[in-house]
Amino acid sequence: MRMFLAIVVCKLLRFIGKLVGKGSSLPGQYALKVCPDVLGRVKLPPYIIAVTGSNGKTSTVEMIAAILRAAGKDVVYNAEGSNQIEGVATLILSRSSLTGKMAGDVLLLESDERYAKFSFRYFHPTHFVITNLYRDQLTRNGHPEWVFESILPAIHPDTTLVLNADDPLVSRFAQGHDPEKVKWFGLERCSISTDTPRGVYDDGQRCPVCRGRMVYSCYHYHHIGHYRCESCGYCRHDPDFAVTELDLKAGRLVIGGGTEIRLSFRSIYNVYNILSAWSVCSLAGVEKAVMASVINDYILKNGRMVRFALGAHHGVLLTSKHENSVAYDTNLDYICATEKPCTVIILVDAISRKYFTGETSWLWDIDFDRLSCPQVEKVVLCGKYVNDLALRFDYTSVAPEKIVCYDTAAQAAQALQAAGEEDLYVLTCFSDRDKLLSLTKRED
């Protein structure tokens, strides 16, 4: 009876919410008050796929949904990004019958790392994809090992883990889990691999199990690569699903030695997103040809890359997750792959859109030295924290004469609009991107 009431409450509030354009968490929140264990009572679809990790959750979930739909499956997923238990409850109950049976073949959930244990208290995923764990919003998350400990209680013994073999911390989730229920994905040594770590810091130096020294036979980016602990032997697993060839410059990768994929977005992130989506969709029984047809030239619709015009300039705005040095480094790589002369604009104004902080330590974790290349002719720094940025750049190899500072995005845009026609690349986070984009003409 309580389940029935909870479903009714959820459906009703969802209906009213849609009419007035309100958010997606509230109906679930009230439904959970009516029946706290309602998610354990509802009959869920045969496949429940969850995706968590520091980076790539939204993109991977979108890609998984596209593939599964192309395979003819009815996929229900939290496209609105409500990835905590209330949002999950809204999603499930609003798609359930009054007798408590949820519609759909697959329930697909983007899951917040720290809240997964609450979402999966009364039900658990059949497949749990964990993409990566690294320094991400540390003002909120503490540190990657703290996040690891937060995810751990969300893992049920019956769940099949789909893990990034190249991430030593993510791979630890397999410890104590039935090996038959762990599937690995990874990138084999390829054109982007390096023998030494790149970046300001190296979180792959110490073994996450015994704290001994780790050695890498190759790095793909940051601490993602092929590792082995000298002390306890903890090491990368051979992947069940692997990218066996990768040419980012040409926008081409090969999965499993046989299936070639063209990349519309030539970023290492995209490679791992594709691979993790491929892995879990394979496990859900989708044929290779169907997956390849969807992934080929797949264009993400998440607005993280926006083309614009400003005066005589054409530009690309690359959105990084805030306080996430790996995301910034990846976007710096993208910029540096260009061969034409360009100006790079870096905007740090509000550090987060969700909460206040004046914390700028993460700027010291970004490898701005990558901008020390001939095609980057000018670096424009702007926003409230322009002095923190300028101070950070004093400790890079970027020539001081290339750096120009403005207090606001508007001042920077005005100066750029008035002169020059070189390509522009904007590097900023979600909270600040519209401050600059609103002053430009969109070209997408």
Partner: protein, 242 residues
């Protein structure tokens, strides 16, 4: 004039860009004509404190902190000897906790620490990250920064900061924070504390010069952007108090 700065365990204890503390300190010292030798001690190395003028350690994960503690406690006597001859010790973030008598982790296990200070730390499974404004006992300008800890520290009688208008102190909201006694300076503030607080950097420089018996210059170096960055952060944090 030459100084040796020892960076302890940067391979395990540098979680929030702490390396920048030594980069900035080095640049300030070089602006004063000091030749700076920066030595990194990894977890496999045995630190040589005999030549060190400053020993620095930053924040790590709770697990990393316990791992370095095992090696570090074996060096307690050597570190004490270095302190006795005037070597400065600056520990930030949860490195501060290693200076005390013990650390009890969230599972209830107690780890012996260096015993250079008479305080104890207890970790919890709750984290209380937050911005900080701190009033120092040793310099005038309010310090700004961020704390990212899951512990309380008890028994400090000589704190570095008398009170925190914003933030959680050693064991209470707005309470005193850090530790300062003789040549030991410690705070749970994380990350590039010296980058954010030029006045703190100046204090370290004065202490280093004093320990060497060098005459203190009339004017300490003022490097670009540092004062402006500090002023903006302080303004933004003070606005949170209203």
């Amino acid at each position: 004039m030459e100084l040796t700065l020892l960076h302890l365990y940067p391979d395990a204890m540098s979680l929030y860009g702490e390396y920048a503390n030594l980069s900035v300190l080095r640049r300030h010292l070089e602006a004063l004509g000091v030749a700076v030798r920066l030595e990194k001690v990894t977890c496999e190395d045995v630190p040589d404190f005999t030549r060190a003028d400053l020993v620095y350690m930053g924040a790590g994960t709770e697990g990393a902190q316990k791992a370095v503690l095992l090696g570090l406690t074996r060096q307690a006597a050597a570190l004490r000897a270095a302190l006795d001859r005037g070597c400065l010790v600056l520990f930030t973030g949860n490195a501060m906790e290693t200076l005390g008598r013990s650390i009890t982790d969230a599972r209830g296990q107690t780890w012996g620490a260096l015993g250079l200070a008479d305080f104890t730390t207890v970790e919890t499974d709750k984290r209380s990250p937050g911005d900080v404004i701190a009033l120092s006992t040793l310099w005038e300008a309010p310090a700004v920064g961020f704390m990212n800890k899951c512990s309380t520290t008890s028994g400090v009688t000589t704190p570095l900061f008398a009170s925190l208008p914003l933030g959680f102190g050693n064991e209470a909201e707005h309470g005193s924070e850090g530790y300062a006694d003789g040549s030991i300076l410690a705070t749970h503030l994380t990350g590039p504390v010296l980058v954010k607080n030029p006045a703190f950097t100046d204090l370290i420089i004065r202490r280093l010069f004093f320990a060497k018996g060098w005459p203190l210059p009339q004017q300490l170096p003022v490097l670009p952007h540092e004062g402006e960055a500090y002023a903006v952060t302080l303004r933004e944090l003070q606005a949170r108090l209203k």
